[in-house]
Symmetry: C2
Subunit: 213 residues, 2 copies
């Protein structure tokens, strides 16, 4: 394996970050399996990962995986569900943190973007492997994604109504701001020039420039 | 396979698009292998694809692949090299198309973004599978990516020098504009609301709003 991939596996701070997202998952063995699956999927892709790989990383036998998840797709589904719920919560909490339209937009863009940088491994998995979900799970996750999109649009519409923003295409700008955040999961490196918080501030600054009258 | 993935495989216009990028690759059997590999890598990921899968899609035996490419990684490397060269050409041609700073920025953002939507399958492969390249190939592709980044920065710096743009963080804005374009390869759907050309115009409009004094 080339050095640049190996670095992803060796960064211990990532393990701590992953724990933070899945902290409420019980029992611990299920949490351990989900964390192991996120790492395998992020590094080798969903289709490049076997249940045996996940079991091995979690310190279980393949049969031990099937006690808790009846398929590899069930693991992807649980990861996608929790990941989307967490990212929607982050966005909703930012939106509720202030009534000033510009401060709200800055908080929403900043927090949603820094979340995707900080949790780049699960963020990659939940955004890139959507096509591997079953049709039923795809529809359920799609509904969560539409709520994320709607929350961003409401933030923009609110600023227009209060006369603070001028936005020719609200749907297009919402798409762009969400896209900027999600793509941070692709290019962000823990050893790179910008911290997750700095990425949040950069994109909040750009969002502010975009909505100026 | 779920319906939403199957759609990707059945869209015949994608085949035509793929042909356009690789049209100059000779001999035809090498071109056919590269097109087959792009499709397999885009749908199942690099690690989820075997040389046998690629051979089968191209109508060859696995041994027939090894006549032309000594490994799966060599196929990824050739695809990454040609894909990055083409996207750099598109950006450089747009930059050379006019001397007006704003018209140039619009052309660069629009053409680079619509390229990533239109050629979303190869664009996904060349941007998401970088970690699977050998260290030597990773360095070579990294040099091409730095030229793409430099061309975007020059476009922004030029507008600042001519007094047309105000940009507090040129590196950050270049990163954001390239990121918006590249992420179109993730979310673009041929049956979606916006055509590649419309995506280009949307992002050019946003870039124009970002650089306003």
């Amino acid at each position: 394996m080339p050095v640049h991939s190996a670095n992803i596996e060796r960064d211990e701070s990532l393990e701590a970050d992953l724990e933070a997202i899945w902290a409420e998952i019980e029992p611990p063995v299920v949490r351990r399996l989900m964390i192991a699956a996120v790492q395998e999927f992020a590094i080798h892709g969903y289709h490049g990962t076997t249940t045996r790989d996940i079991a091995s990383r979690a310190g279980l036998s393949p049969a031990g995986v099937y006690v808790h998840f009846k398929s590899k797709e069930q693991l992807l589904y649980r990861i996608s569900l929790v990941g989307h719920q967490r990212s929607l919560e982050v966005l909703a909490e930012a939106a509720a943190s202030t009534t000033d339209p510009l401060a709200r937009l800055r908080a929403v863009v900043s927090d949603f973007s820094s979340w995707h940088a900080r949790y780049h491994m699960p963020a990659k998995v939940i955004n890139y492997e959507i096509g591997a979900l079953s049709e039923e799970h795809f529809l359920e996750i799609g509904a969560l994604r539409r709520r994320i999109d709607a929350a961003m649009r409401v933030t923009l519409d609110d600023g227009i109504e209060q006369g603070a923003f001028v936005i020719p295409d609200v749907g297009g700008m919402a798409l762009a701001l969400l896209s900027l955040a999600i793509d941070a999961a692709r290019w962000y490196r823990p050893a790179g020039q910008r911290t997750p918080a700095e990425i949040g501030t950069l994109f909040a600054d750009l969002a502010e420039r975009m909505v100026r009258p």
